[in-house]
Symmetry: C2
Subunit: 237 residues, 2 copies
Amino acid sequence: MTGTAEAREAVVLLSGGLDSATVLAEAVAAGHRCHALSFRYGQRHSVELAAAAQVAAALGAVEHRVMGIGLGAIGGSALTDDIEVPKHDDVADLVGGVPVTYVPARNAVFLSLGLAWAEVLGADDLFIGVNAVDYSGYPDCRPEFIAAFEAMANLATAAATEGGRRFRVHTPLIDRSKAEIVSRGTELGVDYAMTVSCYDPDAGGRACGRCDACLLRREGFRAAGLADPTRYASGPA
Amino acid sequence: MTGTAEAREAVVLLSGGLDSATVLAEAVAAGHRCHALSFRYGQRHSVELAAAAQVAAALGAVEHRVMGIGLGAIGGSALTDDIEVPKHDDVADLVGGVPVTYVPARNAVFLSLGLAWAEVLGADDLFIGVNAVDYSGYPDCRPEFIAAFEAMANLATAAATEGGRRFRVHTPLIDRSKAEIVSRGTELGVDYAMTVSCYDPDAGGRACGRCDACLLRREGFRAAGLADPTRYASGPA
């Protein structure tokens, strides 16, 4: 994808986390003019939206917008309800099943809204940081879901059905390990100190060090042999 | 679909308009416990949300929720931007193409949010009032879009991939004319005086009588030989 002579518009879903920051770096490196989109959907912490704004600016997105979605009206997740975020002592405890932090139909919702913006912008390319390796418990992070979304998207919009355009959903991280992701991102100049992965940061913005996301992140830097710039409140050494 | 012994939960997308009111009546008649969902996404008039609440109560939905979506952040439509709603003198003027009132990727967005609620509720059935006859200009009202959405939905959620559930998107109006819709709804007891179709009602809540939606609605009642209970401000006789 690199080496594109003409800068094409792209919509990049940006959470403020490690994965989506790496995706934005990939999209920029591929020559896209990137429009970054974040969502405010009742998260317990808004620190990730501040991180997203900082990451978008640092990596050269042409703009960053935050869209509110009232998912609180329907409930259903540890990220939006008042359920305790599960903590672990070791990455090996993260086994199978769908995590309780699952937000119902999240990527279908987020990609649909990204698609709406892409149509308005005249962008054919959508980028999302799904990953089928470390997050295998999430059904909407698998290649078959992405392919089905893409097929639906190309029937959903006037741009595709009348305008002859073809939407593509790019998932550059889908088969990478966390270690491969942080290695590649570091190569592309991502400053991971700006990113936030933790589901349950403390008041000072420090990561808990023991939720699913913290454990995977920490293990990724360790496996890649890179220094982890994250400020952790606690957790395994 | 009628005659179901066991009441099954269903999510019904309800705009406050004529079509979705009829769909809710169909879902109730089929024996579903209906959870009605409306969206607040920057419409110029909130009169349709009040209509949706009234319709939900009158037709026996077990609940009605309104979810906000910040589509204003991305713009792109006569319903959300400050573009003039086109007016016509005759239904014959409504020819081909995508209406300027098109909201980008709207049904993909609305169905995705309906899917999220369905997963939370344990509902397998989603109802939407798309219609491929009168609104043929909208790409996301066609059967092939609905089929693609359903395929995507069954890969998007933990309920479907782990729980063995199968989501269905019901479109009872998809091949009906407006006249057939109002005839059937009248049979099911829908009070269309509660519903709002107009894209541009006046301050007193009267329909403009000349936008696309008003013309199709008026023509539907006429063709069905039914009295049109709508209060119009103006328009063809």
